[in-house]
């Protein structure tokens, strides 16, 4: 058990990397991150350029985001592997069936879970664009220009959100 203070708030963390017994690899040392597909996250500079691209439409641009409380802890662990997540407190023993902050593979896997959320959000934005299209002439002209640019760049349907999204 460990307590780390972040922004004045205590967080319980777990050190699953420390090798407690000679000759026995720790949990994290046994995780093969190379076997897990990588995620290409957005960079701040890319976000800025995306905003600049949207700004050429002349429409107001707003950046938004949201945070999920205790994101790791909402997701369950494979029960057959819960024996790797035991603990002992002063009054009793116990175990933790949720994802723990300290598992080496958790950020990547939870990041892929975030990709699912991003995908769902993009779908909903595209649906909103379709259901409630803009009536502003400059915006419509911009969308037309962007679609033409997408065709010129050889983009396929899967890349539509990269060219003609408005939301």
């Amino acid at each position: 058990m460990n307590i780390v203070m972040r922004n004045g708030k205590a967080r319980m963390t777990i050190d699953k990397t420390m090798q407690l017994v000679d000759g026995v690899a720790s949990y994290n040392d046994s995780v093969d991150l190379e076997a897990i597909p990588e995620i290409e996250y957005v960079k701040v500079s890319e976000l800025a350029r995306a905003i600049a691209v949207l700004n050429t439409s002349g429409a107001p641009i707003k950046i938004w985001g949201f945070d999920l409380d205790s994101y790791f802890r909402r997701t369950g662990k494979q029960r057959a592997h819960c024996w790797m997540s035991g603990f002992v407190h002063s009054d009793s023993y116990g175990y933790d069936p949720r994802i723990q902050l300290g598992q080496r593979e958790a950020p990547v896997l939870c990041g892929r879970q975030s990709c699912f959320i991003v995908w769902a959000v993009r779908r909903e934005l595209a649906r909103l664009d379709t259901a409630y299209p803009s009536l502003e002439e400059p915006v419509l002209a911009w969308l037309k220009q962007r679609r033409e640019a997408a065709v010129a760049a050889g983009a396929d349907a899967g890349d539509a959100y990269r060219w003609a999204v408005l939301c």
Partner: protein
């Protein structure tokens, strides 16, 4: 002594209200410190001294004990620090803020608030045209022509020779200026009022004067005007080749004098090569050095492709084997191991109790050694090859079976049914992570063994926070607890416990 060292106000208060001489040696030692603090506060901030002497005369009264003297000194020090960090806080206009801050941190924050508010109110309105690449922010793109002119001016002032690139840039600018002074049809669109004959002559003299150690004031002013204003900047950048070869017959040197805006090395001859190669770290680099991207470029640029992992297939849940029959504790765990587990828990409890008393160093030395047992040592033959889960209902141990959606979903807060349906309906390409969400995140493949870690020093230093976090996990039902023996056996635990 007080009258000598403290300020006049403080000494007056002390002398008038002191009923008897300060005889205590400890008080005599403490009093000069308090007096000095008051004097410093008085000298540093008249407002603070006014507050101390009038609003809170108690603070300046005679210390009746060592503690009182220290309190006086402490309050005066806080007032002093507050006055030095945030003079506005102590102004008479905000009486509620005149109280001495309860801590130095509070005074520091108060100072920051005042400073930030002041800086926020003094922001110069920005030219919207210069924010094209940074909407929503207050980043101002620099005028490259102006910066170049300033650079040249500074170098000339200091007697530093211009580089060949800079000389070419100046020559190109001179050529452009002369071109713009020719018939309008030959001039690029950015000519402005600053493109006057005076500028041209001054720049010509500047070019001719390359290598000399100083400039006349007239030259300085003309060079300073070289890139002022967006229109002039456009003229400069276009003359130097920002937007491609817009060279005129009068400026044959332009191709080698290209100014690559947005490049880390804008004055290199080949700007493209500068962009393609490794960029050098700019000393004192700032976001304000960024240049707005061209609209034509942005219109033809796709949004970045991000948050898209490679497509993967659905991963099936682990295969369910034929489970063995339930066992009692005596049938599963060796007696010696049971004793070790009880002892280990007691020692951890003692360690945490010591930490709660504030003696974390002692608690650290009390920590038991990690408990380790190989798979064959921690489980009796009847239970080997499996991990076992204790059921409080009948106090028996059951083999730990894998979770599998939809029949045996893992413990989670996810609406797994809706997630799987949505992903299948609309064709989410990364099915593996959906299967992990449904069946439970898998861990690495490890051989069964028992390792029990010990509390980390961080938990011993912050026992109250540790108890709070542990209680939160328990209250939310995120952990299983309250077992005299580990509820899953064998089991691993790092130097730790549940996390969040």
């Amino acid at each position: 002594m007080f009258a000598d060292e403290a300020s006049s106000t403080a000494s007056l208060d002390l002398s008038l209200s002191s009923p008897r001489p300060l005889m205590s040696p400890s008080l005599i030692k403490a009093a000069p410190r308090a007096g000095r603090r008051v004097r410093f506060a008085d000298e540093a901030s008249p407002a603070a001294s006014l507050h101390l002497s009038r609003a809170s005369p108690r603070l300046l009264g005679p210390p009746s004990s060592m503690e009182a003297a220290l309190r006086v000194g402490r309050c005066a020090r806080f007032a002093d620090e507050a006055s030095s960090a945030a003079p506005l806080v102590l102004s008479p206009a905000s009486p509620q803020l005149l109280r001495p801050p309860s801590s130095f941190e509070e005074a520091r924050r108060a100072g920051h608030r005042v400073r930030f508010a002041d800086e926020a109110s003094s922001v110069v309105p920005l030219d919207a045209s210069s924010k094209l690449a940074h909407p929503g922010g207050s980043i101002v793109s620099s005028d490259s022509g102006e910066k170049l002119a300033a650079l040249i001016w500074r170098k000339r002032q200091l007697g530093i020779h211009l580089t060949a690139d800079q000389e070419r840039a100046v020559q190109a600018r001179v050529a452009e200026t002369e071109t713009c002074l020719a018939p309008p049809s030959r001039c690029s669109g950015g000519s402005s009022a600053s493109n006057s004959r005076g500028d041209a002559s001054a720049l010509s003299s500047l070019v001719n004067d390359v290598g000399s150690s100083s400039l006349s004031s007239a030259d300085n002013s003309c060079v300073a005007d070289l890139g002022s204003g967006v229109r002039t900047r456009d003229a400069v950048s276009s003359a130097l080749g920002e937007d491609g070869p817009r060279a005129t017959e009068a400026s044959p040197v332009k191709p080698i004098a290209r100014l690559r805006l947005g490049s880390a090395q804008p004055h290199l001859v080949d700007g493209a090569a500068a962009d393609a190669g490794p960029r050098l770290a700019l000393p004192g680099a700032s976001l304000r050095r960024l240049e707005p991207e061209l609209r034509s470029v942005l219109l033809g640029e796709a949004h970045p492709s991000a948050n898209v992992p490679p497509s993967t297939g659905w991963a099936e849940a682990p295969v369910v084997l034929e489970p063995p029959t339930p066992l009692t504790t005596a049938e599963l765990i060796p007696r010696a191991m049971i004793e070790r587990l009880h002892t280990f828990r007691r020692r951890v409890a003692e360690c945490l109790a010591t930490a709660r008393d504030g003696r974390w160093q002692v608690a650290r030395s009390q920590r038991p050694a990690p408990l380790y047992a190989a798979g064959v040592d921690c489980v009796l033959p009847a239970g080997r090859g499996w991990a076992w889960r204790f059921d409080k209902a009948d106090e028996r141990w059951y083999p730990l079976m894998p979770s599998s959606w939809p029949s045996q979903p893992p413990e989670s807060d996810l609406d797994i049914g809706s997630i799987v349906d949505y992903a299948e309906k609309f064709g989410f390409p990364i099915a593996e992570i959906v299967s992990f969400m449904a069946h439970g995140y898998p861990g690495p493949e490890l051989d069964l063994c028992a390792i029990l870690g010990l509390p980390h020093v961080g938990a011993l230093k912050e026992p109250a926070a540790f108890d709070k976090c542990a209680k939160k996990d328990r209250d939310r039902g995120w952990v299983h607890h309250g077992f005299a023996l580990p509820p899953i056996w064998p089991r691993l635990s790092g130097q730790c416990a549940p996390t969040r």
